[in-house]
């Protein structure tokens, strides 16, 4: 099922081209949108929300055209911006109720869903206190709650882990994953941190300078590669030299050795070399490609 798609989407500003002939398609589940700052992620979201017209090309969100049906799209889409967007003098409950009403929920439903949603994002008693006194992690949760409160079909998250400590990141990513799986809401999550997306996404789209660099399922990006990592206690150089002699391709990477697997014999050669040199083998593992490699 296609949640959103763009066709040769281009956005030119007087000085820069933010999006350049971008053609992507996003299915259900969690999709990561990766790109450095200024790669065109925010512009893409604005166009998809129908807030900014495209210069050329077209887009569809939930089968609707943002250029003409922006309002219907915005009714079933949630958006969590990257920047701070919360009034400090209101409580999370008041604020999320208000935002739910702005999304078109009737008053009593808005209250019920605000309470539910705040509970889901993990805000407890503190939700009755003014937002001004919240930690960054709590504010991010409120931002997420306001995007979820009207039960959207798709949710756009712009750098949801910004400013969070490692534990906060983990919790936020777990939440994003839950939204995509358990809640059954499709997620488009922007980030410039690839490692994060690797953990929660089903599919990753990489853009650079407004162009599509790559779009593929997470499995393709991180499939097992033909490289094994070898770690021995001492004598890494000796081992590397021996393996090179026998015609294998090796590279010393810090305290480990990266060994290209030619064929099954490579494993035998490695075993024999370790035994002959009388080394202590600590680790031998198959390496997985990381999304970072896309950029190499």
């Amino acid at each position: 099922m296609t949640i959103l798609a763009t066709e040769a989407l281009t956005k030119r500003y007087p000085r820069v081209t933010a999006l350049d002939q971008l053609t992507v398609s996003v299915g259900a589940g969690v999709t990561g949108l990766v790109g450095a700052n200024g790669a065109g992620k925010s512009t893409l979201i604005k166009i998809l929300l129908g807030l900014v017209p495209a210069s050329e090309g077209s887009a569809r969100v939930l089968g609707l055209d943002p250029a003409t049906q922006g309002q219907e799209i915005r009714r079933s889409v949630g958006y969590m911006p990257e920047h701070d967007c919360l009034p400090p003098d209101q409580s999370a409950t008041e604020f999320v109720v208000h935002m739910a009403r702005m999304s078109g929920l009737p008053r009593t439903t808005a209250r019920e869903r605000a309470a539910d949603t705040l509970r889901h994002v993990g805000l407890q008693e503190e939700r009755y206190r003014p937002i001004g006194g919240y930690s960054t992690g709590m504010k991010q949760r409120v931002k997420l709650a306001q995007a979820l409160v009207h039960d959207p079909k798709v949710i756009f998250l712009d750098e949801p882990t910004n400013g969070l400590d490692p534990q906060g990141r983990d919790e936020m990513l777990r939440l994003v994953h839950r939204i995509g799986t358990e809640f059954g809401i499709s997620v488009l999550v922007c980030s410039h941190l690839l490692g994060e997306l690797e953990r929660v996404c089903d599919h990753v789209i990489v853009i650079e300078g407004g162009r599509l660099l790559r779009s593929s399922a997470i499995g393709e990006l991180t499939q097992a590669s033909q490289v094994i990592t070898v770690e021995v206690e001492e004598g890494l150089e000796k081992l590397a030299a021996r393996l090179t002699e026998t015609g294998e391709t090796v590279a010393v990477e810090g305290r480990t050795l990266a060994l290209q697997v030619r064929a099954d014999e490579t494993y035998d050669l490695l075993r024999d070399a370790v035994v002959d040199l009388d080394l202590n083998l600590v680790r031998l593992e198959q390496r997985h490609a990381r999304i970072e490699d896309v950029f190499r």
Binding site: L49, L51, Q71, R74, R75, V77, G78, Y79, P81, H83, D84, C85, L86, P87, P88, D89, E94, H98, M99, R101, M102, S103, G104, L105, P106, R107, T109, R113, D116, H120, Q146, H150, D151, E182, F183, G184
Partner: protein
């Protein structure tokens, strides 16, 4: 530590398939929310003090007027001059509460959250403007109406001032629209509330002074015609002039306002200018 007495069951995420109201309902909800905000309702106690104090001040002449009617059987205070008479209070209310409506959303960048929903920027501005107009109407119409009810109940030896009362209601609408447009336009140019308050008050003080000084100078130089126009620099006199021409009421303090459609056109032009400025301001915020 005491044992928990109840268990919270995680019933999981629930989808919503009830009604989803459109942009109109959103705008109305925003209007009510903003109107409540202008009187500090649903906000902290501190934000209620100023608007209610000013509302109390607006009611004071009415109470006195009713007492005079009841005890001395004298004419009530003039309905049509009420806004001009109370202009400092109204101006302070406008200055204090206009930034309350627009500044926090600009300062804390809440606007993108509105725009990612069905409401549009025009709905947003419209709801804020309508909220300020309604707040000013409450401020003006309630005292006038209370006095009129008082006049009806107290049996005075003179006829009811029904025409003056109705003309004053019309004038109140003009006042509310004009002042709300100017107040929000000025306040929206800064995300800082304090600066917003200062700019609206400064604008009022400027028009007050400019109107008085210019009129004085022109009159002493013998330019009576020009002087009658320069009075209109003060928005309260402008509305009073339109009210006098439109409803045939007495100008306040017997001022020699220009007759005809002139003042009404000026009023329309000022409102149009203010609204254009307001819209331009938010267009800029939208593009950013």
């Amino acid at each position: 530590m005491s044992q928990p007495t109840g268990v919270i069951h995680d019933i999981g995420y629930r989808h919503y398939d009830g009604p989803r109201l459109g942009r109109g309902a959103g705008a109305v909800a925003l209007w009510v929310y903003s109107l409540r905000g202008t009187f500090g309702l649903g906000r902290t106690f501190k934000s209620k003090i100023m608007p209610f104090l000013l509302f109390g001040a607006m009611m004071l002449p009415t109470v006195v007027s009713i007492a005079i009617m009841a005890l001395l059987k004298q004419e009530p205070m003039s309905y049509t001059d009420y806004a001009v008479f109370m202009q400092p209070i109204i101006a302070i209310f406008l200055a204090a509460q206009s930034p309350v409506l627009v500044a926090p959303d600009l300062r804390h960048k809440v606007i993108p959250l509105y725009l990612s929903r069905p409401v549009t920027i025009v709905d947003y501005i419209g709801a804020k403007l309508a909220a300020m107009i309604a707040a000013l109407l409450i401020l003006l119409v309630v005292p006038l109406t209370v006095q009129f009810v008082g006049e009806m109940l107290i049996d005075l030896p003179m006829p009811l001032h029904t025409h003056e009362y109705l003309a004053a209601l019309g004038g109140s609408v003009l006042n509310a629209v004009l002042l709300a447009s100017i107040g929000l336009a000025l306040a929206s140019f800064t995300p800082r509330r304090g600066l917003g308050v200062a700019s609206v008050i400064a604008f009022y003080m400027f028009t007050l002074a400019a109107s008085a000084v210019l009129t004085g100078v022109l009159e002493s130089e013998g330019h009576r015609d020009a002087a009658s126009w320069s009075i209109l620099l003060n928005p309260f006199f402008l509305v009073n002039a339109v009210q006098a021409n439109l409803f045939g009421t007495q100008p306040t303090e017997g001022l020699p306002f220009p007759s005809g459609a002139g003042p009404a056109l000026i009023l329309l032009a000022v409102v149009a200018l203010a609204l254009t400025g307001l819209y331009a301001r938010y267009r800029k915020a939208l593009a950013a």
